[in-house]
């Protein structure tokens, strides 16, 4: 393959090439990184992707608009709710639909729960990559509670299919709000517990501070979004910049880092979990009444046109670009995958570091191959 040849070392050099993945415990799926190593130091890295390519965008073109929603669940499979939210938001935008306030609040709750769930997976796997085993299980215990809430709301735990164009398919079940509140109330204590394990830990600090540094300017240049961008100190969040689903009614902070290293991104994500809890508390406190579904035609036929709509997914800006030709199926439905674009900066971030740092950086980018390969 020409991929390999382009990275072949010179015949008389001490450098070696190594294919890191696609079957490797720490590449979060089927990522393959072609590494050129000088000892353990990375001279060059080249991500090779596409092992999980399923042609999702092609499949979208044959589905009805509501029929695409289950497919979006499978993009970033750790954050199905925000994927749903981005898709239905895009279609609602092209349709000119306004979502009822109760539906918007339910969406925000699902999205924030999903953000917490996604960040807990990230923390568990990131810590596991760096060698700490136990946080993986502690975080998954919390995630299971969130998945229980999802299951109760929409009947699935992972691939939620939880939103529809125009609103929400279901009303909340009796007692869901109480159970959600119970979860939200105990969750900050758990985050504090995880932080006791890691934040001050000298080994954790050694492994993350100054690793995978990316400056604010080059983060923008590389199109990073989400925690990797905020870790570099850019205060930018789609929820604040283009508030959707009435995010402007909630009071929350955007945490930012200072140095753009792995430790800062870690702190940013930990703080994001707390901020999500804050949003959830506000949602639960002032959950509006009313319908959960707007008046939309049964067959959704948007007018001819094109629209881009994005949400702040747990991994970064997740956007959908809908091109409609007036039919019941999208003419083109393009995903702007946050992970795909964040991963692109990997070579920049790991050049000159050690193999162990590559793991830390892959972990800190929080990639999900389902979204990268689509």
């Amino acid at each position: 393959m020409s991929n390999l040849e382009s990275i072949k070392p010179f015949p008389d050099s001490e450098e070696m090439e190594i294919s890191f993945g696609p079957q490797h415990p720490a590449t979060h799926g089927v990522l393959r990184v072609l590494l050129r190593l000088d000892g353990e130091r990375i001279v060059d890295a080249k991500p090779v992707i596409g092992y999980l390519h399923r042609g999702t965008e092609k499949i979208f073109e044959r589905e009805t608009y509501n029929g695409t929603i289950p497919h979006t669940d499978r993009l970033d499979y750790t954050a199905a709710a925000t994927n749903n939210q981005a898709l239905v938001g895009a279609v609602e935008k092209i349709m000119g639909v306004t979502v009822p306030p109760r539906a918007a609040a339910i969406r925000v709750m699902l999205a924030e729960l999903q953000r917490i769930a996604s960040h807990t997976i990230w923390l568990g796997t990131h810590a596991l990559d760096i060698g700490a085993q136990s946080p993986f299980f502690y975080t998954f215990e919390e995630r299971e509670k969130i998945l229980d809430l999802f299951e109760e709301y929409c009947g699935a735990r992972l691939t939620l299919n939880s939103m529809r164009v125009g609103g929400q398919p279901y009303e909340l079940t009796d007692g869901w709000v109480d159970r959600c509140r119970a979860f939200v109330d105990q969750f900050p204590a758990r985050v504090a517990e995880w932080e006791r394990l890691l934040t001050a830990n000298r080994i954790w600090k050694l492994r993350t501070i100054g690793v995978g540094v990316i400056s604010a300017a080059s983060a923008i240049e590389w199109g990073l979004t989400g925690p990797p961008l905020r870790g570099s100190g850019v205060k930018w969040d789609v929820r604040k910049v283009f508030p959707y689903d009435r995010y402007d009614e909630y009071d929350f902070e955007i945490p930012v880092g200072a140095n753009g290293d792995t430790y800062d991104r870690y702190l940013v994500r930990m703080e994001e979990m707390r901020q999500s809890v804050r949003i959830l508390q506000q949602c639960l406190a002032k959950l509006p009444d009313g319908p959960v579904m707007a008046k939309v035609p049964k067959v959704i036929k948007p007018p001819k046109g094109e629209v881009y709509f994005s949400v702040e997914g747990p991994k970064g800006e997740l956007g959908f670009y809908v091109v409609s030709d007036g039919g019941a199926n999208p003419y083109r439905l393009h995903v702007r995958p946050a992970c795909f674009i964040n991963l692109q900066a990997l070579p920049e971030m790991v050049r000159g570091l050690l193999v162990a740092d590559l793991i830390a950086v892959i972990g800190t980018l929080d990639i999900v191959l389902g979204e990268i390969d689509r």
Partner: protein, 181 residues
């Protein structure tokens, strides 16, 4: 740097703190569910194995159209039946197959079903339908959909043919949805 800061940078107190956390977890209640003996309780809306009722089905093909991956295959024909002394044309199902091995349990078929109570529903709580041979064992014809041959029903659930009704716990799949114009 203060004395305590200096001391903390030499003596790894924070590592001891971490050990304390894991040490405490040693005595906490375990989260494991011993699966075959203890079965996790699905929630009421849990999308599990299909329930299907031939009597209720009006062969409208709405579910097949709603299915994003086209795994519902329906064939029907018209028959003359006598209802209240009048002759009426009625659609009769010849074939109602679901290729469960490809199903992603999105529940859109259930949502599309116009009959009340539903003719197809996924709220059966049953999730034990694993098989060693996917092409045959996970292909459900309308007979198998009702007899559930090869599916272990969740405790308390009986196969559709024996009269298990959809609980309709969601208040109908499209509860709260405005009537389409």
């Amino acid at each position: 740097m203060s004395f305590w800061g200096l001391l903390a940078s030499i003596v790894p107190f924070e590592l001891g703190q971490g050990l304390g956390v894991t040490g405490r977890f040693l005595f906490k209640k375990k989260a494991t569910i011993q699966y075959p003996e203890v079965k996790p309780v699905p929630k009421d809306r849990f999308r599990g194995m299909f329930g299907f009722s031939e009597e209720r089905c009006i062969a409208c093909h709405a579910c097949a159209k709603a299915c994003p991956i086209d795994i519902i295959h329906i064939q029907d024909h018209f028959e003359e039946v006598e209802v209240d002394g009048k002759k009426r044309k009625k659609k009769v199902l010849d074939r109602y197959d679901i290729d469960v091995k490809r199903c992603m349990f999105c529940g859109l078929c259930e949502e599309a079903c116009p009959t009340k109570p539903l003719a197809i529903w996924l709220t059966t709580k049953s999730y034990e339908a694993s098989a060693y041979e996917r092409n045959e064992r996970l292909y459900f014809t309308k007979e198998r959909l009702q007899s559930w041959d090869g599916v272990r029903p969740y405790p308390g659930v009986v196969p559709p043919r024996q009269g298990q009704m959809p609980d309709d716990p969601t208040g109908g799949p499209a509860a709260g949805r405005g009537e389409p114009k």
